[in-house]
Symmetry: C2
Subunit: 269 residues, 2 copies
């Protein structure tokens, strides 16, 4: 249990303070924090609350959404990502999760979008190093390629991360997004020393209307977690395992039941 982390999106309706209290009540030592919940109370108070609860911050969600081609959009994305780095530093988060952004609005060129992502991460690296923050590139499921992340596979995320120093840029492995990939274990092996976070959530059929919300409790779906966890471990990752579930039914359940189930399922894998 000392490696378990609860991503606060799993209990979406709780404030940061309430999510932190939930973790403490259930003996969960770490939390994955979302920026909108930090903004609600202000960064200083958020950091103080998490610290007072004795919780480690396994990740801050999230930076990214780099894929703009207009000067104004690029400036805004740059400013927002620098703010996210500063927040991750203040929260002492193990990684700032990057969801890189989909196609450039109004364009169909995947290559252009991917180059914008690489350039934007390159632009962010020195600031992240200066503040001691590690960026974690997360490959999203290919069904989100158009609108959320043109980085759609582990290999792609690793290829991108390898362009930068290992202390500054790693990858985040999220089972829901990458479980299907025949090259997954090899891709994770290529990320040795570069794994900045490990998030788990199951793939549950049928997919709901909003495919973002198809994630289920570990064990409720079809993902075989053992080989993925083994690969992540073999790649040298010894950090927290963050349970992250976007699911309308889970959100409707009492948070204490959810936390108890997260613990129970985590123990089982």
């Amino acid at each position: 249990m000392e490696r378990l982390s609860l991503n606060q999106a799993t209990v979406k309706h709780l404030s940061l303070a309430d999510a932190a209290a939930l973790c403490v009540r259930h003996g969960i030592p770490a939390i994955g924090v979302w920026r909108d919940r930090v903004a609600e109370v202000g960064l200083d108070r958020a950091a103080a609350a998490v610290r007072a609860a004795g919780l480690h911050v396994s990740s801050l969600c999230r930076g990214g959404f780099f894929t703009r081609a207009d000067a104004e959009g690029l400036r805004a994305a740059r400013a927002d990502n620098r703010a996210a780095v500063a927040e991750a530093a203040e929260l002492d988060a193990d990684t700032l999760v990057l969801v890189c952004g989909g196609l450039v609005p109004g364009q169909r060129d995947l290559g252009v979008a991917r180059r914008i992502v690489a350039d934007a991460i390159g632009d962010l690296v020195s600031y992240a190093q200066q503040l001691g923050v590690r960026l974690g590139i997360e490959a999203l499921h290919p069904m989100f390629c158009a609108d959320r992340s043109v980085i759609s596979s582990m290999d792609e995320a690793v290829d991108l991360a390898l362009q930068f120093p290992a202390d500054a840029v790693g990858v985040v492995v999220d089972t829901y997004n990458v479980w299907w990939d025949a090259r997954l274990v090899d891709g994770i092996a290529r990320a040795a020393g570069r794994i900045a976070g490990y998030q788990v959530g199951d793939w549950v059929l049928p997919l709901p209307q909003d495919t973002l919300l198809g994630r289920g409790h570990v064990g409720d779906g079809v993902i075989d977690f053992r080989p993925i966890t083994a690969a992540v471990t073999a790649a040298g990752y010894a950090g927290y395992v963050e349970v992250e579930i976007f699911n309308a039914d889970v959100w409707a359940a009492p948070a204490d039941l959810t936390a108890a189930k997260v613990r129970e399922r985590f123990a089982a894998i």
Copy 2:
């Protein structure tokens, strides 16, 4: 226009005879045929109707769904696929499209499912060669990995096809399923001489409840068809380009309007 084919799923509510007549009315020289519509009238009559209309059959949809572990299920899948090969031969189809099947029911092991697929195709090859039918392995989008096809990327489909003689096993490139892949152009290049079919349909946001039905008319979505078509052409494919759209709105439209739009959009790419 001499390379255009209409997959009959695009006009789902038409019988084979009506779909064939539609193609003739709109000067579309080829058709992609579905087995349920063939079964409706019987194989002999179906083949005769298509021949009488002067249409070429660019594909028969579909064989596959190999991933059973029980003896009964395996036997049934084998029998069904041999029947599909015989139908493809009788229809003189350019390829029998294989949708390989998802996880084995009740199992989570992707490796097992993928080995079952490879074994089943291997088992089918000599019969296909004997009847002069080329099997076309179609990589489905990773969002269908659990329930429809564990073959989720072009590279995977190519790796599988390369295990068998080129005359017997190729790959079918379907834009809707593979457009997101950073390795797509390389994967298609690896399939040189192995491309058994090219299907086009666009990726339209937002995805509908049933993600199978997210396909749109070419140009209505985000896919950049030019580089994909260029790669398919460079790989030596000179066959039909089959427009295949599963979409509730398209199905609700008058079939003649749909056929006209298919022609118009095809001309544009």
